[in-house]
Assembly symmetry: C2
Homo-oligomer: 217 residues x 2
């Protein structure tokens, strides 16, 4: 344990009883801060402060800020996408099932990871986001393209409202699940919607989609 007491001297600290993976702890704190403040607003020093270590130790563990961001992507963000992707692949062939499992999987994943939605919205989806390349080019496309193609196929068979665009439907899916979380503090406090839970968000998204995909009479 590092700076916990006022005056740490250089040197390896004595081992503590419950001494877990230090690097992982720091990465957790960094992930949380990146999520809350955005990447460019979060400095190495501010992460160090939060983790009660010196900035130098950040470099000891991660090498550089860039490498820290790489770690964020591969060790924190990618697993979430992979998790959602697997659940969606496991879903039945039916388009409804696909939509349902996407929404459920995403909201499940996000429920235990509050940093994910803001991070995704700011740094992946928004143009110029810092994490876009590594995530979208990698697995993002693998998750998204099949969905789009499925929607297009269903539409060709006349089983999906013609006024919807298959590409935008994918965007819609993502925004219905992530956006409410990323913008929580607005509607929770300013709209006073304190009762809204993850379940409410799931029900809302599914209700809109189940009906919305139908072909108008």
């Amino acid at each position: 344990m590092p700076l916990s007491d006022q005056s740490r001297k250089p040197g390896r600290p004595p081992k503590q009883p419950a001494d877990v993976d230090r690097r992982a702890q720091i990465l957790d704190i960094a992930t949380d801060l990146f999520g809350r403040q955005g990447i460019s607003a979060t400095t190495m020093a501010s992460i160090a402060r939060e983790a009660q270590i010196t900035p130098a130790l950040m470099h000891y563990y991660f090498g550089s800020r860039d490498k820290l961001l790489n770690a964020l992507v591969s060790e924190r963000l990618r697993p979430v996408v992979a998790e959602v992707g697997m659940k969606v692949v496991d879903a039945g062939d039916d388009m409804r099932d696909l939509v349902r499992s996407f929404v459920r999987a995403m909201i499940d994943a996000v429920d235990s990871r509050p940093w994910f939605p803001p991070l995704w919205v700011r740094e992946v989806l928004s143009d110029g986001g810092k994490l876009r390349g590594p995530l979208i080019d990698g697995m993002g496309v693998a998750l998204i393209v099949p969905l789009r193609d499925r929607f297009a196929a269903e539409q060709a068979k006349g089983r999906l409202n013609r006024d919807l665009d298959p590409n935008l439907l994918v965007v819609t899916l993502i925004s219905l699940t992530l956006f409410p979380f990323a913008s929580q503090s607005i509607w929770r406090t300013r709209l006073g919607a304190t009762h809204v839970s993850s379940d409410t968000i799931t029900t809302h998204a599914l209700a809109l989609l189940e009906r919305g995909l139908e072909i108008p009479a």
Copy 2:
């Protein structure tokens, strides 16, 4: 005209034939950069470079970075919200009309201002966004609360799908209109959806909403 040639010397430059509002030009460039890179990633110097002036001149025109952000809010962002707000107020009392006019007004407004969606998504909607206070507390709530209340009222009268949440419906409205724009470059290039236009986005959003709000049989 300033740095256009390699070696500008100090001093007021000779008047040019077409010499328009310099400050407004610079604010336009700044707005564009803030939209593309996010606020904290955009330095005074980078704006100056883009505008081909010195950082010092930025301060001459705007006083400070903070004041530049104030100008961004009051002279560029607020007018957009005001414009949308007015069109929505002018809409009929019917909930459908309200939704339609919100979607159309928002997409109209955004069409000529590509910087708006990313800026709004990153700096207003996302938690910790730098522009949230001045915009949401000001007029944002005035636009959003009545919408929510209207939805709630319709729902009470049994004219809106019970599974939807009135608060989230407002969030949905915003995400359906802004998100596709803010994330354009992803789906345009990586999904190859080059044909998708503002009209496509409008049609898509309205199709989903018109059906989605209905009460399931």
